[in-house]
């Protein structure tokens, strides 16, 4: 997988003042996770389950900081009830989702959550934006950052498997 567009994403997030990077280990977010761990100016927080990231980001906002939740599509299912904190409290919320169960998926276990990721998020009032081409990264990530932190609404950017490349199964 290219590290060019992930590095572009990292730069945009840091330029926006995001300094809490919450994640569950994931191949699709590998570069962002490694960059955040290596960056002495940010908190890189490994979670045991993605829903902790929802509470964490709300807490960051309470304290005047900005955070982002990096997760795989399967992690969206773990977050659903805690998104009520975001909606009830009208917290800003930005999550980047590496898709599985998407274009070219070879593992049937990934399909149910992958195919329900966007409808489930939208049912919880999270606006979804999708990136399938590296050329769309800058514009879409910038738009998502503005909507999340200036308009203070929940935003998910779905990084499709056309962009990430589907995991190979022999």
């Amino acid at each position: 997988m290219s590290t060019e567009w992930p590095e572009e994403i990292y730069g945009l997030l840091r330029e926006a003042g995001i300094d809490q990077f919450a994640f569950v280990p994931d191949a699709g977010h590998d570069h962002l996770i490694k960059r955040s761990i290596a960056d002495p100016d940010v908190h890189a927080i490994a979670l045991t389950t993605e829903e902790e990231g929802v509470g964490l980001l709300a807490g960051a906002h309470l304290g005047g900081s900005r955070g982002v939740l990096l997760m795989q599509s399967s992690g969206v299912g773990n977050c659903i009830n805690l998104l009520s904190l975001i909606r009830t409290g009208r917290f800003p919320f930005l999550t980047l989702i590496s898709m599985r169960g998407d274009f070219g998926e070879g593992n049937p276990w990934q399909m149910p959550m992958g195919q329900s990721t966007q409808p489930v998020l939208e049912a919880c009032d999270v606006i979804c934006m999708r990136i399938d081409e590296p050329g769309d990264v800058e514009g879409t990530i910038s738009a998502a950052i503005t909507m999340a932190f200036n308009s203070e609404i929940p935003i998910a950017v779905l990084l499709g498997q056309k962009l990430l490349g589907a995991k190979k199964f022999s």
Binding site: Q20, H43, I45, A46, L47, T48, T49, E51, E52, G53, V54, G55, L56, L57, A58, G59, A60, H61, L62, G63, G64, S65, G67, N81, L82, S84, L85, T88, G89, R90, F91
Partner: protein, 216 residues
């Protein structure tokens, strides 16, 4: 499993939803939480978990802008405290939660232990029951020890408080610890009076930020 050892004629919870319920702890929850909160610096930031824990905080401090209280999203109080503690390293942050809520996302203890912000403390008010839903027994009344789990998660400063005389030491640990700290309060079962608190989380968020940051 029978849940009552109390004599029905002398049960202090007679006539409440907690009637007939018992726990291994005997602290008075509201008095114990108040005693610890009163030991902390006045600018301590507080995340109050839903239901009974929020009531304990409000009874101790009143409706104060430095409290963010939950009305739902069960399991999020500890992770919210972590995000807040990382954002405000010069202030103490205290999460007050119950055994039921902490059990729902107990892995957060590991996440906190790994980050280990020195300004984060957690009080778990453990009455061994799910009070909000009708005082069903929780795992902590059936052998699960959340203080052992906190230690196992890697939190270095952990205390179980079963007696009033131990509250001072626990409060000092929360006030001065060099790493994240966890206090398990073993309280008796009761149903203290409800305290009115707005359900409007956006209002509380904005008020909290206004007081802390000078902007909503």
């Amino acid at each position: 499993m029978p849940d009552s050892k109390n004599d029905p004629n002398t049960d202090p919870n007679k006539g409440t939803r907690a009637e007939g319920k018992t726990a291994t702890g005997h602290l008075d929850r509201r008095a114990a939480v108040k005693s610890i909160l009163n030991m902390l610096d006045e600018d301590t930031l507080i995340v109050a978990g839903l239901a009974g824990a929020k009531g304990d905080v409000l009874a101790a401090l009143g409706d104060d802008p430095r409290i963010f209280g939950f009305g739902g999203a069960m399991g999020a109080a500890a992770s919210m405290g972590l995000g807040l503690a990382l954002a405000q390293p010069d202030k103490r942050v205290l999460v007050v939660t119950g055994d039921g809520e902490l059990l729902m996302n107990v892995g957060t203890l590991a996440t906190i232990a790994v980050s280990n912000p020195s300004n984060l403390g957690i009080i778990c008010v453990d009455n061994e029951h799910y009070g909000e839903t009708g005082y069903q027994r929780s795992h902590t009344g059936l052998g699960t020890d959340l203080a052992t789990m906190a230690m196992g998660a890697g939190i270095g400063a952990v205390r179980t408080v079963g007696e009033e005389s131990e509250l001072v030491e626990a409060g000092e640990m929360l006030r001065q610890s060099n790493g994240s700290a966890f206090v398990l309060l073993k309280v008796r079962v009761d149903e203290p009076p409800k305290i009115r608190f707005s359900w409007d989380a956006a209002f509380h968020k904005n008020r909290f930020r206004q007081a802390l940051l000078g902007t909503p």
